[in-house]
């Protein structure tokens, strides 16, 4: 009787120590769910979801504060992936947050730019280059197309240019058959 009790107590103590050690040694800094959600989000950092970036939105989804249909750049596919990850039903994009647009980059009309640096401060990914009273320009490959630089511009010299398909980004099309008139 006593042996059995001691054995069980000893085992419990040992396992407790192992678990305690593992909890400290393999501590997860951040909720892995937030990271998984963040990996699905398009990283446009546009704030259309009402959160100040993709990571805060991911945190809000993980905490159950935000819905999964608030990200227009992620589109339907993004919502489907989030639904899959979280085990909920996919739903259509909430139109309050905007509509999914084709991928675009910001273009500064360099003749009109007055060098006010407001767009540089607005860019969430530091993709605009320039200095005060000097012309600014967009580093196109780094631009996420978030459109955050457009409202602050006092001379309205920024426009969005859709990304054109070229030979390196061209995709084979889904096979379709033309219906012929008999």
């Amino acid at each position: 009787m006593l042996t059995a009790l001691l054995a069980m107590a000893g085992l419990a103590l040992f396992l407790g120590l192992v678990l305690g050690f593992a909890a400290i040694k393999f501590k997860v800094e951040e909720s892995p769910l937030v990271q998984k959600i963040d990996a699905i989000l398009p990283q446009t950092q546009c704030g259309q979801c009402t959160y100040p970036g993709c990571k805060p939105y991911a945190t809000a989804i993980a905490a159950g504060e935000a819905d999964i249909n608030q990200c227009p750049p992620g589109g339907e596919e993004g919502i489907r992936k989030l639904a899959e990850l979280l085990g909920v039903e996919p739903k259509p994009l909430n139109a309050e947050h905007g509509v999914t647009k084709p991928k675009a980059v910001a273009v500064i009309d360099e003749n009109l730019c007055i060098g006010c640096t407001l767009c540089i401060q607005a860019c969430p990914v530091d993709a605009i280059l320039g200095a005060a009273k000097h012309m600014h320009t967009v580093i196109a490959p780094e631009c996420t197309g978030c459109e955050l630089c457009i409202p602050p511009c006092p001379v309205d010299c920024i426009s969005m240019a859709p990304i054109q398909e070229d030979i390196t980004t061209w995709k084979w099309k889904y096979p379709v058959y033309s219906i012929k008139h008999a």
């Binding site: 970036g53 990571k55 530091d126 780094e142 996420t144 030979i167 980004t169 995709k171 889904y174 096979p175």
Partner: protein
């Protein structure tokens, strides 16, 4: 007698090779205008280094290789650069790409050609020279050859295979090249053997090319190269399939043939390597079969940049019912978007099509799960499963079923009783997956940049707060024994020392793969910098 192995599946389509193999290779005349695309190879597009209006010589470099997986592009003849613009290129998309147009002056004047003493050259320098001579695989995949001729970390690649199988119907350009120029192919193979350190050189040719086999056997006399005759079966000319036939070895899924000590080159690549190394001639022409719905099907040695319609005209005007042109073979080729699209390093064949020769496939019927495609697949995939996944856009599943090991040979299409365009589904799935990967990479960069920006803003805020705090507290009392001026002097000296230390630690990097003129430029800049530094230090020494 060497033991041959068989690969799984394969098909026997009608060959149609006799049509174009009756006449010898003819040199195509100079066209009135040459359109040379800058992106003819796998890897980065070449960078134009000439300007409009400039006179160029035959063989002069007009596009410089950009990065390691890239190769140079050269002027096919002497003349004037008339345009550098986006123009139609032979690509299934039909989208334009950057091309340099040259108006020939008719003189066909060569740039100075220097043969390379390959045996005495440093291997890395030799590979760089090959990249600058525009060497790329002439079998159709156009992978830059210098990268394949690098044994890498291993001491050598024991087996070199020359691919002369030419298994696709209609095409005879390698056959005719082997018949007529076997000696130069063997010279090229010797250079490859030297560069790879290969101990065994095998030349695989299908048994439907007896003249080519005889010619290469004669050229191989006195060497230990072995010409191996392989049974005719499509796609025995696939690099991995030929490796299996000749050695019985298969590279691992998703792996390269060098992992099993084998490297495969097309015979035409060996030929252009010999021209490049022994004669100093860059890749400015290639053999091309013009066949199909034309009067006199034949092989031509044509300049890169020759418009397709000029080439087709050489084989007699295309017949009235010609619908368009296929570049490559009927199994793996694609329809040219326009007949002014130029010849590129990858163009082994141009087939004029007509409804009689290539009737439109009947409408696709539902898959009946007969698994004929699985029996025909030379890579032993499950094409019917891949089809369902690609059709349902379940790309993850398709990848699990090794979609990327598919060589797009078209055997499954060929045998499908329901006429489903299977390869088109696989290509669709592959390019969607690539597009998603590109987007993912871009998102990762955006995430990093956003995180760094947040960090930067935080840091700036903290710095400002610290400075403010320091100011409100007032200057600290100087350490006893030192005046304020001393402290200041010490701080300045410390800063100078730190800067010196930092400068000494900075070493230029990433200059290993640069062309000679860039290295020269870097040296000049360094010299100027040293001079300036010297001039700045001098007044300090003599106050």
């Amino acid at each position: 007698m060497r033991q041959l192995f068989d690969f799984h599946g394969g098909v026997h389509p009608a060959q149609h090779k006799a049509e174009s193999a009756t006449l010898p290779i003819a040199a195509a005349p100079l066209p009135t205008r040459l359109i040379v695309p800058m992106h003819q190879h796998i890897g980065n597009r070449a960078k134009p280094i000439v300007s409009v209006g400039e006179r160029v010589l035959k063989g002069q470099m007009i596009g410089q290789a950009d990065g390691y997986i890239s190769c140079a592009v050269h002027a096919p003849t002497s003349g004037t650069v008339s345009a550098i613009e986006m123009a139609t290129v032979p690509h299934p998309s039909g989208l334009p790409d950057l091309c340099i147009s040259i108006e020939p002056d008719g003189a066909d004047q060569w740039v100075e050609r220097t043969p390379l003493d390959y045996a005495a050259m440093n291997p890395s320098e030799l590979r760089n020279r090959l990249r600058d001579l525009g060497l790329a695989g002439m079998g159709g995949a156009v992978f830059p050859s210098h990268a394949k001729l690098n044994p890498g970390r291993r001491p050598n690649v024991p087996t070199l295979i020359l691919n002369g199988a030419e298994c696709e119907p209609w095409i005879t350009c390698d056959d005719m090249l082997m018949r007529e120029r076997a000696d130069q192919i063997i010279s090229g193979a010797k250079i490859m053997q030297h560069m790879l350190g290969a101990t065994e050189v095998l030349i695989g040719i299908e048994d439907n090319k007896p003249e080519a086999i005889q010619a290469l056997r004669a050229a191989c006399a006195g060497t230990d190269f072995e010409v191996v005759v392989v049974p005719t079966k499509y796609p025995s000319g696939g690099a991995k399939q030929l490796t299996k036939i000749l050695t019985g070895k298969e590279p691992p899924a998703g792996g390269r043939s060098t992992e099993i000590g084998v490297q495969v080159f097309n015979v035409a690549t060996a030929y252009s390597l010999a021209r490049a190394v022994l004669h100093g001639e860059p890749v400015i022409s290639r053999m091309v079969t013009v066949t199909g719905n034309v009067e006199r099907p034949q092989n031509f040695e044509a300049l890169i940049g020759t418009p397709a319609r000029d080439l087709v005209a050489l084989a007699g005007p295309p017949r009235a019912d010609t619908q368009g042109y296929i570049m490559g073979g009927p199994m793996m080729g694609f329809k040219l978007p326009a007949d002014q699209a130029p010849l590129i390093k990858a163009t082994n064949c141009l087939i004029a099509t007509s409804p009689k020769l290539f009737p439109a496939p009947p409408p696709a019927l539902p898959c009946i799960r007969c698994t004929l495609c699985a029996q025909a697949c030379p890579v032993e995939l499950q094409p019917q499963e891949l089809y369902w996944f690609a059709r349902g856009k379940e790309f993850g599943k398709a990848q699990e079923y090794d979609l990327f090991d598919c060589i797009e040979c078209g055997c499954c299409d060929y045998v499908c009783p329901s006429h489903i365009p299977l390869v088109q589904y696989y290509r669709f799935a592959k390019s969607e997956i690539w597009a998603r990967e590109r987007e993912k990479d871009k998102a990762d960069i955006a995430r990093d940049r956003h995180e760094f920006r947040d960090y930067r803003i935080e840091r700036e805020k903290k710095d400002r707060a610290d400075k403010l705090a320091a100011k409100t507290q007032g200057p600290k009392t100087p350490v006893t024994g030192h005046t304020e001026a001393d402290n200041k002097q010490a701080a300045i000296q410390a800063a100078i020392d730190r800067a010196k230390l930092k400068r000494a630690g900075v070493e230029p990097k990433n200059v290993d793969n640069l062309p000679a003129d860039k290295l020269q430029e870097i040296r000049e800049i360094e010299a100027r910098r040293a001079q300036l530094k010297h001039a700045m230090e001098k007044p300090a020494e003599t106050p």
